[in-house]
Symmetry: C2
């Protein structure tokens, strides 16, 4: 039974060569779970006079986020140890509006372990840890920056970190786990 | 003349060894410009029963953001080519609330140029560009992901990219330029 609840589909897959194919797979899964998926690349965009294409995309994404009943966020690291800043921006946007959010990452390691592997780690005063540049490393076992995980924890959830069989963003096990959480949240 | 307007001070400097000193400098500058600076590390935190320290920090930062009249965001790249995901989250949070935002980065290069330098670049169909892994690179001349720059452009502003004399987050010329914008915005 479709619920007509709309879910915004955030994540760095919009930058992949098969961005539209992944978006379509996500939208089909949304439909199977009784939702309507809103994917950023669905917008047919043409810059209006006086507006650049990036401004148009921004406005369209903001409109989709305001239209959505919930958001599912792919926090898989993108070009480095952390989540795509655009996806992080959108998670903050939903958090401020108090809309339900669900998140997953296809990198099961903690942020701490990723930073330690990529940037080094050494002990610092007061039980803290720093990387080789002396930058503090959050050590809470979270998937990413505590503001991102915190948005999930505040709702009694966690960033889902499934065992994945495909590298990168291609594996949708975590995405489906989020859709199951969304079904429970909306009682469908 | 102090305005008592409160400005949330977001940025990756909270991870620097001199995080508290930078925060203090920023708060003093806020005062000189007639504002009250709200710095995340000012919160005296102790985890309550059943609440972990990261959850407590999250809640305290959210409370500061809701208390603030505006936000100044340091989008200087952090551990890679892009802004700190926590700072990006907070920029999205402010954007959703419709509160005025001001931003700067101490890396004057565009996101495109940083990605090209760090991850390679080649031409892709339809005038697009990809990095060596085939991931699309935004080519709008923006400082970061278009959602971040877009939040500024939607308000008729830009991410400020000053010529800096200190590497990293130590140079506060961009921060002061943001405070000047804030004064204009609030008519003080």
């Amino acid at each position: 039974m479709p619920s007509n609840r709309k879910i915004y589909l955030a994540g760095p897959e919009v930058f992949l060569p098969d961005a539209r194919a992944i978006g379509l797979r996500k939208k089909i899964l949304c439909e199977e779970f009784g939702f309507v998926g809103l994917y950023p690349l669905d917008n047919e965009l043409a810059a209006a006079p006086g507006e650049t294409l990036d401004e148009k995309i921004f406005s369209a994404n903001v409109a989709l986020m305001r239209e959505a009943d919930a958001g599912v966020f792919n926090l898989t690291p993108f070009r480095g140890v952390g989540a795509d800043p655009g996806t992080a921006f959108e998670l903050g946007f939903f958090a401020a509006l108090g809309k339900p959010v669900f998140a997953y990452t296809n990198d099961a390691a903690s942020l701490f372990d990723r930073v330690a592997a990529a940037h080094g780690v050494h002990a610092a005063p007061e039980g803290d840890y720093c990387d080789a540049q002396g930058l503090s490393i959050e050590n809470f076992g979270n998937a990413d920056n505590l503001m991102l995980d915190g948005a999930l924890k505040a709702l009694g959830r966690r960033v889902i970190r499934p065992d994945v069989t495909l590298p990168g963003c291609g594996d949708l096990a975590g995405f489906m786990a989020c859709l199951r959480q969304a079904r429970t949240h909306f009682g469908i």
